[in-house]
């Protein structure tokens, strides 16, 4: 019939009903499986994805309505049709309220079943196309491993792509967890040096002597324990990219050495007398305000300007409107592959919870939270309960931060801002969620001086 084999599960305790209905549906080209009772059905529903579940209402043990209820949680995208020979208004209403697609009274006309199946499958087909389109759209939001649909981030990706083609030094600025190393790797991958090595060094983690040795290498006998000549990161990055993270944390002596190395394109190994020439692209990063550090005398001005050739500032997650759902889906896709867990998505409630967080740890924190949720999730969908720890922590933080000092007005301001962010500043949707009309919402926005660019939660 020119369509993919949609998967249908027929659940009925009567063998002849299961067999005959399955055969009838198979003739339409569907992939049909059977379950003789509610328990078996739930196991099958949990184990595999289904397009349609045709479930008999009256079954011993777990009945059709219980299967329906559980199926809504386990497979919210599967359409459930309840079949019964004993129709009552009460059960029909319950089935529809619980989320059944339809309620059929046996026996039904072949035409009725045919039309319903066609409609259901066409709907599934549309959903599938929607997913594919979203996926295609997501590709547009990607820069290597970085994902964003935020306009400022998109502009930043464009700048990074152009910068990648040059050999100029790039300085990446941004809070902790915003993805500075990821951006550096993306730039390397986009650059003509992509075939060369990408060498990363976190300057904050090492002592001055160790950094010097790590960065420039050392000659045999340069210091106690230097039993052989060792190449430094600078040398190792020859033909590739050297990423110096936490550059704002290096000592004045190392600042000078680094400045020389950058200016002269050569350096000396520790204990060495012969200059070493390298051809490596430098990308530096810091979460500190380097300009302020220069003004305060903590960072060399000449080195600052040597590094500040192409500055790129990554936005904190709280300022990346609309990015949380996109990033969450992106990470989930990754985690699914990494952890081999067949997760299908994030429930609307869980997503709401993610969107309303302030994420002081930025994208890294979001990824960690999702990794934890992936581990604890029992079903194929990450539920709000799987993020329970997040809710309690956030509640606690909110309480700590605001309970003592916040007025009712302040609480209202924060709540409105949170809802507006969640809806990408769509006034109609936000007003609906808040249960007020649009004019009232506009008045509140004016009253609290709320602005779309306002990123940081107060």
């Amino acid at each position: 019939m020119g369509k993919d084999k949609a998967r249908i599960l027929v659940v009925d305790d009567e063998e002849i009903v299961r067999e005959s209905l399955s055969e009838w549906l198979r003739e339409d080209g569907y992939a049909v499986e059977m379950a003789p009772d509610g328990m078996t059905a739930l196991e099958r529903i949990k184990a595999e994805p289904w397009a349609v579940l045709l479930v008999d209402l009256k079954m011993p043990g777990v009945d059709g309505l219980q299967v329906l209820e559980e199926a809504r949680k386990l497979r919210p995208d599967a359409q459930v049709v309840i079949m019964t020979a004993y129709a009552t208004v009460d059960t029909a209403v319950r089935a529809m309220k619980t989320g059944a697609y339809d309620y059929l009274v046996k026996p039904f006309e072949p035409e009725e079943l045919s039309l319903m199946m066609r409609k259901l499958i066409a709907q599934k087909e549309l959903e599938r196309e929607n997913v594919l389109l979203k996926k295609a759209l997501k590709q547009q939001y990607k820069f290597q491993d970085l994902v964003s649909k935020n306009a400022k981030m998109q502009a930043l990706f464009e700048l990074a792509k152009v910068a990648a083609q040059s050999s100029s030094t790039i300085l990446i600025l941004g809070e902790s967890g915003t993805g500075k190393e990821l951006l550096a790797r993306a730039i390397h991958a986009e650059s003509p040096r992509r075939a060369g090595p990408f060498v990363a060094l976190s300057c904050a983690a090492l002592t001055e002597t160790l950094i010097e040795s790590e960065l420039f290498g050392h000659e045999k006998g340069a210091f106690t324990g230097a039993n052989s000549r060792k190449k430094g990161k600078f040398e190792m990055a020859h033909g590739g990219t050297l990423f110096l993270d936490e550059i704002g944390d290096i000592s004045p002596k190392l600042q000078l050495d680094l400045l020389r190395a950058l200016e002269e394109q050569r350096f000396y190994r520790v204990g060495g007398t012969e200059p070493v020439h390298v051809d490596g692209r430098i990308i530096a990063a810091t979460n500190r305000d380097l300009k302020k550090a220069v003004e305060e005398g903590g960072f060399r001005e000449d080195l600052y300007y040597r590094l500040h050739v192409i500055p790129i500032t990554l936005l904190p997650l709280r300022e990346r409107e609309g990015d949380i759902p996109l990033l969450a889906e992106h990470f989930l896709e990754r985690l699914r592959a990494e952890m081999g867990k067949p997760l299908e998505g994030i429930s609307a409630e869980a997503m709401d919870l993610l969107v309303t967080q302030t994420w002081p740890g930025n994208v890294r924190e979001l990824r960690n939270v999702l990794e934890r949720a992936t581990v604890v999730a029992k079903g194929p969908i990450i539920e709000a309960d799987d993020l329970g720890f997040l809710r309690s922590e956030s509640d606690k933080t909110n309480e700590d931060a605001s309970a003592a000092s916040s007025s009712l007005k302040e609480m209202e301001r924060r709540h409105i801002l949170g809802v507006l962010r969640r809806h990408d500043w769509n006034i109609s949707h936000s007003a609906q969620t808040l249960g007020i009309d649009r004019v009232t919402l506009y008045n509140k926005i004016k009253k609290y001086h709320l602005k779309e660019e306002e990123g940081a939660p107060s």
């Binding site: 009903v17 067999e19 198979r26 339409d28 072949p110 079943l113």
Partner: protein, 185 residues
Amino acid sequence: MTPVESYIYLQWVGNGEVEEDMLEQVKDHLEQTFSLPVRIRQVTARPQGALDPARGQYSSTKILRWVLQDVPWDAGKILSLTDCDLFIPVLTFVFGEAQLGGRGALVSTARLRADLNGLPIPPRICRERLLKECTHELGHTFGLIHCSSSYCAMSRSNTVLDVDGKSGRFCRGCLGSLKRLQAKE
């Protein structure tokens, strides 16, 4: 088909007498359509326990199971015809039933004899409908599924209007599929 299972068997398992020439006409049509030899088989026994008194109809699944208990050794496929009004439990009626990619198929003349209002129709039209449904159900036994071309014999028929709207032949796509499936058997 393997040489030992080379025939399509055709048999009448209805309550009433089989109409004159009916089996012969179906035989000719199937031989042309499937390019396989068809044998008419006389059976005197009739399926038991298939009648549902509450519905006044016969379970097609039960009749089919009964038929499959006694299949000639050289039967690749076996098509049974009946005048009983057939049903499967969830549906009000079926024109027939077949094992998808299996051996057995069943077609009833009961619903083919009348128009949508239950009024009798000319015997010629009734016979044409029968040929179409026989082709359709037997097509399933070769593994063919429903076709989206409404003129193809493999398009699904939920009413007699659907049956009248299609031909007794396969569309090019289904014919190609049939050849491939026959070669596999």
